[in-house]
């Protein structure tokens, strides 16, 4: 039971962490709660189903399953990155210098739009993700681990590590950190702020798309409303770890996944969705800037 919950929690946590990274990166740079981020994750899940359905229809799946899967994966990620980029261009960039509340409301508007757009075009009922891997898995110290779970854990670990490398080692990563620290100074040393912000949205949305695809394959069901609750939880994870901090988001996501799966197993599963918020309120009460967050001195 314990190992089983641990594995379930890690799987869930990996997904939350991937979404939380998008939140935390955008927040770090724009100080904006990107409400539409959860919808990108939902779009990723839907795109997976749509592309896989398309490849099945043209016979690619039966010709070569791995090729179809890789193509689905790549296309979904590209499309979601494009969504992220476009949303920023249309809904956030004109509000760059507006009061703090404006982009937040704009983000809520985008979120409502995307949710209803998907509901209109894909229907309000659950969509089924084709069960490709059966429920194959293996035994692991008295717990059952499916290959999907292993894949999710491995993929999220690899993605998180490479993101960390990207942020710390590459030129663009350095530029991102500079912009997050001080936009004006960064632009004075020749960093193109708009490019950096676009890149942030593209990377964050790509990660969310991966999370969406993996969740669709894991649960097998997708609904137009999954983005909202996953988004809120991922944001909770980001806040848990201290928003704006990338390791914090990874840690917060995994912690949240573990908390959820253990409390659902040992306390009550009815309130599964509420634990995240209760933990959040408690942690923020004790440490208002999150676990890894730095308390910022306010400048007058």
């Amino acid at each position: 039971m314990f190992t089983q919950q641990l594995i379930n929690g890690l799987t869930l946590g990996g997904v939350y962490a991937l979404i939380a990274l998008g939140y935390t990166m955008v927040y770090g740079i724009l100080e904006l709660i990107n409400f539409a981020h959860g919808e990108i994750y939902m779009l990723g899940a839907y795109l997976g189903i749509i592309f896989l359905g398309f490849f099945t229809a043209i016979g690619l799946t039966s010709y070569s399953l791995p090729l179809a899967l890789i193509l689905t994966f790549v296309l979904s990620v590209i499309f979601c990155s494009a969504y992220g980029f476009t949303i920023e261009r249309i809904a956030y960039r004109p509000l760059r210098n507006a009061p703090r509340l404006s982009p937040l409301i704009s983000a809520i508007g985008v979120s409502i739009f995307l949710q209803n757009y998907v509901m209109l075009t894909q229907g309000a009922t659950d969509k089924i993700f084709p069960n490709l891997f059966e429920k194959a898995g293996m035994e692991f110290i008295g717990a059952r681990v499916t290959y999907t779970q292993i894949f999710i854990m491995a993929a999220s670990a690899v993605l998180m590590l490479s993101l960390n490398l990207f942020i710390t080692k590459t030129r663009m990563g350095k530029a991102m950190r500079a912009v997050a620290q001080d936009k004006v100074m960064a632009s004075l040393v020749g960093i193109n702020i708009n490019t950096v912000i676009s890149a942030t949205f593209i990377i964050g949305s790509g990660l969310a798309a991966v999370a969406g695809l993996m969740v669709a394959a894991y649960y097998g069901l997708v609904n137009y409303s999954i983005g909202y609750i996953a988004g809120i939880k991922a944001f909770t994870a980001a806040v848990l770890g201290g928003i704006g901090s990338i390791p914090g988001a990874m840690f917060g996501g995994i912690l949240l996944g573990l908390i959820e799966s253990f409390s659902a197993a040992y306390i009550s599963s009815e309130y599964k969705d509420a634990y995240a918020f209760i933990i959040l309120i408690i942690i923020l009460f004790i440490k208002p800037s999150g676990l890894f967050g730095k308390t910022q001195e306010e400048k007058v």
């Binding site: 927040y27 499309f79 476009t86 809904a91 208002p288």
Partner: protein, 394 residues
């Protein structure tokens, strides 16, 4: 002198191509392609292309059009002198006319219209409550619907479980809600800006989940039915027309009290906190205490609206208290204009009426709401009757 690099970039052919209407339309159509299929994407492309091109043309001539309009205005006002009555008499006449229209509504309106008007009234009270927190004090509350839910459920439970009537439960329920406002405010007010927003959002979700899952107490998703409507002097207020006047009394009460409080020392302290927290604390305002009042006072009105909602519907269920409802109330405040009492009334009425008027195209109204919010923020962030001097920094 050397040209700044940004200009060179803006002149480049790539930049010109990516900003051409055809590219924008193609890009957006491509994004929608997987969800709608080729045919719809083609239609979308044509529509978008036309729209973007038109916008471009309009933008190019915007200056000229503006100049033309202003010269026209000058021309007209120079030639024709209409003697308008003084602004004070005019506003009194307007107020009188409006109050006659509002008060006589049940005599000429359909039941349907009255029903919507009653709902608008409830939302006006609710939105005024949120306006206190977001508009006056500048604290973003994304879980405001929780107070509304607590108000509605406490009346429903007091009435159906203990048989307590409307007038006895009203103060009890509202007190309970105000208390819960205090309780939430204590941990929440340690937080700033977005952290506060997310904690209030979490509070809203927790309340909804409890209502949804505590089957033995709240009957879970089935909701509670058979709630008694209020009585006045032994007369049951259950007909729509009666309820309409009943609600109007409460709306007037709410607007009157909130106006007075906003103009008082407390209200001015709230506005000072919104404009600059550090400055206001340095001139001796106890910011924590005033934020606490703001939270509790806002919750008070939400609780009242909740009780009225339960009494009107005679049925409550968790479905009425989702996050979308919080967003809707926030939209009313923002559409009307943060911190503007008449604006928020207008915002509430518009956002209750609009979905009803758009019933024909019901499926698309949420799309319209979403894109409308984005456009509102871009083109008129201060709302319809936006408060002047609202800066909203934290």
């Amino acid at each position: 002198m050397k040209k700044a690099p940004i200009h060179r970039f803006a002149d480049s052919p790539i930049h010109r191509f990516t900003h051409s209407p055809i590219f924008i339309a193609l890009w957006l159509a491509l994004l929608f392609l997987p969800f709608k299929g080729l045919e719809a994407a083609g239609v979308l492309f044509i529509v978008l292309f036309a729209a973007v091109s038109l916008l471009r043309v309009f933008k190019n001539y915007a200056g000229k059009i503006k100049g033309l309009l202003s010269s026209l205005k000058k021309f007209i006002s120079g030639r024709i002198r209409i003697k308008l009555p003084e602004s004070k008499t005019r506003s009194i006449a307007l107020t009188l006319l409006m109050s006659v229209v509002v008060m006589a509504l049940p005599f000429y309106g359909h039941d349907y219209l009255i029903d919507i008007a009653v709902l608008s009234g409830i939302y006006i009270i609710l939105a005024q409550g949120l306006n206190i927190v977001v508009g006056f004090t500048g604290l973003l509350n994304l879980g405001f619907v929780a107070f509304y839910a607590i108000g509605a459920y406490s009346y429903a439970l007091l009435n159906t479980k203990l048989g307590i009537g409307f007038w006895a439960s009203l103060p009890l329920s509202v007190m309970l809600v105000t208390l819960s406002g205090f309780i939430l405010a204590i941990p929440a007010l340690r937080l700033k800006g977005d952290y506060l927003a997310i904690v209030t959002l979490g509070f809203g979700e927790i309340v909804r989940l409890v209502l949804n899952n505590w089957d033995s107490f709240t009957k879970g998703p089935n909701g509670i039915g058979g709630i008694e409507p209020p009585h006045i002097f032994g007369m049951q207020i259950s007909r729509l027309g009666q309820f309409y006047y009943f609600i109007i009394i409460f709306v007037l009460l709410a607007v009157f009290i909130i106006r007075r409080v906003a103009a008082s020392r407390i209200g001015r302290a709230w506005i000072a906190i919104r404009e600059d927290e550090i400055a206001s604390s340095s001139i001796g305002i106890n910011t924590t205490a005033y934020k606490l009042y703001s939270f509790a006072f806002g919750a008070f009105w939400a609780g009242l609206a909740g009780v009225l909602f339960a009494a009107k519907m005679q049925f409550v269920s968790p479905e009425s208290f989702t996050f979308m409802e919080s967003v809707l109330i926030l939209c009313m405040v923002i559409l009307g204009g943060l911190g503007s009492i008449p604006g928020v009334i207008l915002g509430a009425i518009i956002l209750v009426m609009l979905p009803e008027m758009l019933r024909e195209v019901q499926l698309y109204r949420m799309l319209a709401l979403g894109s409308g919010l984005v456009m509102l923020m871009i083109f008129r962030p201060q709302g319809l009757m936006g408060g002047k001097g609202v800066s909203f920094r934290s």
